[in-house]
Symmetry: none
Subunit: 415 residues, 2 copies
C-alpha cells in the first residue's frame, strides 16, 4: 500500500470553549494507527462557515484521507455539508433511505418530523451513505479528486459505531491495507529522561522502524517502540531486535512493559517470594499503603500500615525510643530504620518499609523541604536505607517518595 496521509477535523464551538474534551480525535487516531494509517494533523474549528471551509481547503492540500466529525445535525449552526459543498462543488442530494428511516422513527415515537430534520438526510452526489446503527444522522464517504472524505456525527457513541461498522471496513478494502503498526512500551525506573535519551541518542537518531520515542512521567520514564510491518509477528520481531540493543545499555533500569506499573511489579515479586509487607509512614501518611491495595487480592502480600504522622505516635504506636528521636530527630536514618523494624514486627510481616521526611511547606528539625529517608527492613532484619532530596511541592514530594519506595523494593526483591 502507498502510505496514506490522514487528518482529522472536529467541528464544534463547544470544543473551542473547552466545554468538551476532544476524545473523538484520540479514539479515531488509535483506530487508524491500528490499521497502519498515519494521522498527521488534528484540527478543531467552530461552527463558522468561512473558517470551516478554509480548514477543509488546507486539509485538501496535504492529506489523502480526511475524517470530519460534527456539524451534520439538523440545526442552523450545523455547517459541515455547506462547507464541503463550497469546496468541492458537489451537489447536495437527499438520501431516500435515510428519509424513510427517519419517518419510521418519528411515527414510531408518535412525533412529527420537523422540516429541519430532513437536512440530516442530505448527502453529496456520488457519495456512499454510512449506516448509523445507534442514531439517525448517517455518515458519508465521498471520493473527490483522489481524496477520501469521511463525514461522521460528533456524538461519540454514533461516531464509534459508524467507524467500526462502516468506515474501517471500507478503508480496509479501498486502501488494501496490509500494514500493521505495533507498539511496545518499555518502562524504566531509576534513570532520568535526559540520561536515558543520552545513553540511546545514536540508536534513537538511527532508528526508523521501529521508532524509539522517550516519554517522561512523574518519577519515571518510558520508551515507546513503534514498528510498521505486514503482520504482528514481523512487527514484534523488529521490536525484539531493537529492545535487545537497548537492554545492553540500560536494561538494568527496565522494570516492565506496556500498561504495567512499578507497584504491580513489586506486588508480583512479593507474591512469588511469598513475602508479606507492612509500612510505617510519616510524610507519606498512608499513600504507600493506599497504592499497594489498588489491585484486588492485596491481602496476600500486605498486612497493613502504621501512619505515624506525629512523633508522639511514633513513640506510642511503634514504641520507638524517645531518646532515639530526641538524639537523631524524626527525619533521620536512625528513625527511618526504627520505623521499618518496628512496623515489621507490629504487623507480623516479613518486610517493613518506612517513609519519614519533610513534605513542606515548612522545613522541619532544621532539615530542608524535600529531605526524605526511606528504609527497608528485610526478612533477615537487614536494612536498606537511603536519603533523598526531592524537588517540587508537597504533593510531588509525597508521590515521589512512594514511587522511590517501590523502586527500592523492586531492586531489593530482584536480588
Amino acid at each position: 500500500m502507498t502510505e496514506v496521509k490522514a487528518e482529522l477535523i472536529s467541528v464544534g464551538t463547544e470544543l473551542l470553549l473547552g466545554q468538551i474534551v476532544n476524545t473523538n480525535a484520540a479514539w479515531i487516531s488509535e483506530q487508524l494507527a491500528d490499521k497502519g494509517i498515519s494521522v498527521y494533523y488534528h484540527t478543531v474549528v467552530g461552527d463558522n462557515l468561512s473558517r470551516l471551509t478554509n480548514v477543509l481547503k488546507e486539509a485538501e492540500k496535504r492529506s489523502d484521507l480526511i475524517l470530519i466529525t460534527g456539524g451534520l445535525g439538523p440545526t442552523e449552526d450545523d455547517l459541515t455539508r455547506e462547507a464541503f459543498h463550497n469546496l468541492s462543488g458537489l451537489a447536495i442530494v437527499e438520501d431516500r433511505s435515510t428519509i424513510d428511516k427517519m419517518e419510521a422513527f418519528f411515527s414510531k415515537n408518535n412525533r412529527v418530523m420537523t422540516p429541519n430534520n430532513r437536512k440530516q438526510a442530505h448527502i453529496f452526489e456520488g457519495a456512499k451513505v454510512l449506516r448509523n446503527s445507534v442514531g439517525i444522522a448517517p455518515g458519508i464517504i465521498v471520493e473527490h479528486e483522489q481524496i477520501n472524505w469521511v463525514f461522521m456525527p460528533g456524538v461519540p457513541r454514533e461516531m464509534k459505531a459508524i467507524m467500526a461498522e462502516e468506515v474501517l471496513p471500507y478503508l480496509q478494502e479501498k486502501l488494501q491495507l496490509n500494514t500493521v503498526i505495533f507498539s511496545r512500551m518499555l518502562r524504566f525506573i531509576g534513570i532520568g529522561e535526559s540520561q536515558l535519551e543520552h545513553e540511546l541518542r545514536d540508536l534513537i537518531a538511527a532508528q526508523t522502524n521501529p521508532t524509539i520515542a522517550p516519554l517522561a512521567s512523574e518519577g519515571e520514564v518510558a520508551l515507546r517502540l513503534t514498528a510498521r510491518a505486514s503482520n504482528n509477528a514481523e512487527a514484534e520481531q523488529l521490536i525484539d531486535d531493537v529492545e535487545a540493543q537497548i537492554s545492553i545499555r540500560v536494561g538494568q533500569y527496565l522494570y516492565g512493559y506496556d500498561q504495567v506499573n512499578i507497584a504491580q511489579q513489586v506486588y508480583a515479586k512479593l507474591v512469588q517470594q511469598n513475602l508479606k509487607i507492612a509500612s510505617a509512614e510519616s510524610l507519606t501518611s498512608g499513600a504507600f499503603a493506599s497504592s499497594i491495595v489498588e489491585e484486588g487480592g492485596a491481602s496476600a502480600v500486605f498486612n497493613g500500615a502504621a501512619v505515624v504522622y506525629q512523633s508522639l505516635a511514633k513513640e506510642a504506636v511503634l514504641n520507638i525510643d524517645h531518646n532515639l528521636l530526641a538524639e537523631h530527630g524524626t527525619v533521620s536514618k536512625a528513625c527511618a530504620e526504627a520505623m521499618a523494624e518496628k512496623v515489621k514486627h507490629l504487623y507480623q510481616s516479613d518486610i517493613g518499609i518506612s517513609f519519614t521526611g519533610v513534605a513542606g511547606p515548612d522545613e522541619l528539625e532544621g532539615q530542608p523541604v524535600g529531605t526524605v529517608y526511606i528504609s527497608i527492613c528485610d526478612a533477615n532484619n537487614q536494612f536498606v536505607t537511603e536519603r533523598f532530596q526531592f524537588k517540587g511541592n508537597r504533593q510531588t514530594i509525597r508521590s515521589r517518595s512512594v514511587k522511590k519506595g517501590y523502586e527500592l523494593l523492586f531492586y531489593h526483591l530482584q536480588k
Copy 2:
C-alpha cells in the same frame, strides 16, 4: 479591547497516535474564555520539523495570540524552538537563570546534567521567560510582528502552573482585557445532582447572566455561576444576588466555594474546635490519612492512622476482641465502632474515624461488593455509624468511602 483571535497548537506524535487525549487544549480554552478571549482553532501536529513549521505559518496568517504546548523538552524530537526559529528568524539564546536553576537541581540530586539538558534553557532573543514553579523547562512569551507567541511544556501540571502564574496575568495587562468573566463554584455535599437540579430547575432555566451550570463529580455536586461584566465587583454582585436565591432552597447542603474541597473544610473545623483525629482504615487502606495531610500543617489536627487491612492486624494492632470479629465479622457496625474507638485511644486523639467494607472484586464474609461501614467515635465517646452500599469498581468504592467519611465528619462538627 480589540477582539483577540487566539489559537492553540499542541505538539506531540503521541497525540496523533491517540495514546494521549488532548486535555490541555480544553483546559487552556476554558481559561481564555474566562478572560473573554476567543479561541478559533486547535491544531495537533507531530514531532516533525517541516509539518510543525507549516502549522506555525498557517497560524501566523490568522491569529493574534498563538499558544503552543509541547516540544520544549531536552530530547532530539523536541522541535518547537527550531520550528519557530525557522519561521521568525529570531535567534535562539541561552537563558542564564534557567541554566543556574538546572545546575542547582542536578547537583542537589547528585546527578550529572547531560549536555542535551541545556536545550531546555534555550529561548528567543527579546523573549520573556515564563517561570515554571513545578518543573525545570520554563515557558516563553515573545511578541513578533504584532503576534504574541506563547510556548509552554506539554506536561499538564507544568503547563497549568505557567498559564495561571505567568501567562494569564501577562495577557490581562498586555491586552487590557476589559470584559471580565467571573465564575464562582458553589460546592454541595449530601444532595444528588438530579435533586439539586430539580430544586433549582426554574432558576437555572431563567438565568442568563450569571449562568448556572450544575457539575457532578465523584460523590458530590457543584454549581458554577458565571457572570460577564465590565469589572469584577459588578460580576461578583450579580453572582451574590443569584447565590442568595439558591441558598434559600439548598443552602443546607452548601459546604464551600471554588477550589476548596470537603477535606479542607473538615480540616478547618477541626482546627477551630481544637480537635485531633486519627483513622482506622481497612478497605480505604490509608486513603483517608493520605488525603487529610494534603494541605500543610496537618499535624495540628491529625495524629495518624492504623491501616488494618487484615483482621489479624485489627486484633494485633488495634487490640480488637477476637470474639467480636468472629461473631459480627469485620464488615459490621460492631467492628467499625471498635476500630474507631480503639484508634482514637491508641493515637491519643479526640476523634476516631473508621472505614471497613468490601472494595471488591470479590465479596467478603458473604457481604456484597460495595458494602461499607463508617464510624465516628467523638470526643464524648458517642458514635455516629452508618452503613453504605456503594456502586462502581474498587477504586470508586474506596474513594466514595473517603468522601463519605468527610461528609459525616463535616455534619458532625457542624453541630
